[in-house]
Amino acid sequence: MSANAEAMPMTRSQSAPAKVFAFARRHVLTLYALLAFGYLLLPISVVVLFSFNHPHGRFNYTWQGFTFDNWVHWDAVPGLRGALEASLEIAAISSVSATVLGALIALALVRYGFRGRGATNLLIFLPMSTPEIVLGASLLTLFLTMNVTTGFWTIVIAHVMFNISYVVVTVKARLVGFDRHLEEAAMDLGANEWTTFWRVTMPLIAPGILAALLLTFALSVDDFVITNFNAGTTVTFPLFVWGAARAAVFPQINVVGTAIFAVAVSAMLANVVWQNRRARRLA
């Protein structure tokens, strides 16, 4: 013990080469991180930049000149507005439904001991570890066998299905650190279960619920593979892009892509700020 205690100060004063090494290491890592950020942001910059392009011809691949036209006339391309509306409607319905269903599962998993917990966990994990193409194909098989015409509602069904697991994981992460005594205290003070749920439980898991809503909304708007199998004649925004990619790429597609990106990032920033404020207020 005493030998260790004496040795301590020696390790604190580093030799000169060690300092140089530490300095270099620190900055190598920073440089690497900056390069990685550059790589992550490069395609996005291209998307944003080419939303201002003034392309000649059908493809928006080379820079031809700057214009605001695409932003002003963003719905000049037939079918684009309808596809975007379909995507947003499907995302709204499916994210709310999946969040309700998933949050209830998360509550049950964290708060109650019950038979079949292992099987439940497996059932939650499996959809996330199944390739999307298999999820999409198997649902299509179901609808074909049942003679269900695929369209708007089959897309909603599919999106709720693949979103539930993500909700469970997100809300569960929030519930694990949850102190049950807070609820018991509320009940001891005369609150009934309903009041306790809305006044104590809900505010505590609200950030998890909100995160789940944002995540599932984003996953739904973005989904192509599963939607492609179960869409019938309904066209969502990703399906519209896919169809366009084969014939002609309009700069308007970049406009909508940029807009979705801007909204999503703003929502996430707002969430970060909100969480920080909350953390400060609670602390």
Binding site: V47, A108, Y112, P127, T130, N276
Partner: protein, 286 residues
């Protein structure tokens, strides 16, 4: 709620019921139907399907499409490895050097992925295009032959897959690195471990759950992907996803497509099992 109070033991099942029923109906049952379909045979003239326990669908699928199957796992494996090499230092940097900017820096990782998947991939098509900026500069530097291409190569497809699934790698890595108690690393160094040794013996093992989750979350969608191969490659880069989707949606050869889907899933599950055992991950995930 009074009812719930009287039947407390029922409560968890009531909470689970609706969600699990949804998964049973629209996840489990469809897999059953897919399995059924994979054993059907198609009447070539009437284009009708009859169930015949046609196990040969599976062997036929493997003999015909083993190239695409192997290629899928090869591409997915390489992409997962590159994503790990890119993400680990990046997540490490954010977790240990990010300070109060951590959450904002994370936005830089997650943010790009709110541009629709297909648009992101089309952006890579623009970047790698034959007459694009990058290809032109590489030709100027004679790094690329006069008729050399960046697009329509295996490299382009693997690069696209790596890019598209990177956050699935970076986020779990970040979460596991961020949870590491810095004092453990300091303790290792106080006990005369060099920085490298402290990393290898403390930080790396503690981040294993993140590596495990990240590689799985990247590898699984990568192996089933067909969009990158479609947009950035040629039929020579076709993956098993391309085969499944064209058989389902264009050729309506449902039994073969269903068999291929199950083969893909089975291989993935076996690989996960081997991988979990190799990393000794039962204790990591439980």
């Amino acid at each position: 709620m009074g009812f719930l109070h009287r039947h407390r033991r029922l409560t968890p099942y009531l909470l689970l019921g609706p969600g699990l029923a949804w998964l049973a109906l629209f996840f489990v049952a469809p897999l059953g139907f897919l399995g059924h379909q994979s054993l059907e045979t198609q009447d070539p003239i009437e284009l009708t399907y009859t169930f015949k326990w046609a196990w040969h669908n599976y062997s036929d699928a493997i003999t015909t499409y083993h190239t695409q199957l192997l290629r899928s796992f090869e591409y997915a494996g390489i992409a997962t490895l590159i994503a790990l090499l890119i993400s680990y230092p990046l997540s490490y940097w954010i977790a240990f050097r990010g300070g109060r900017w951590k959450n904002v820096l994370l936005l830089f990782i997650v943010g790009p992925f709110f541009v629709t998947y297909l648009i992101r991939t089309l952006a890579w098509e623009t970047i790698l295009a034959d007459q694009g900026f990058v290809a032109d500069r590489l030709r100027d530097l004679h790094l690329l032959g006069a008729d050399g291409r960046l697009l329509a190569t295996s490299t382009a497809v693997v690069a696209g897959i790596t890019y598209n699934f990177l956050p699935f790698m970076a986020l779990p890595l970040y979460v596991s690195l961020e949870q590491i108690d810095q004092r453990l690393i300091e303790a290792a160094q106080d006990l005369y471990a060099s920085r490298v040794r402290a990393f290898l013996r403390v930080t790396l093992p503690l981040s294993l759950p993140g590596i495990f989750a990240g590689t799985l979350l990247t590898f699984i969608p990568a192996a089933g992907d067909f969009i990158n191969a479609q947009l950035l490659g040629t039929p020579n880069q076709a993956m098993i996803g391309n085969v499944i989707q064209s058989k389902f949606l264009e050729l309506t050869d449902y039994p073969a497509a269903a068999a291929l889907s199950f083969i893909l899933m089975a291989i993935i599950l076996v690989l996960i099992g081997i991988y979990a055992r190799a990393l000794g991950t039962e204790r990591l995930t439980g």
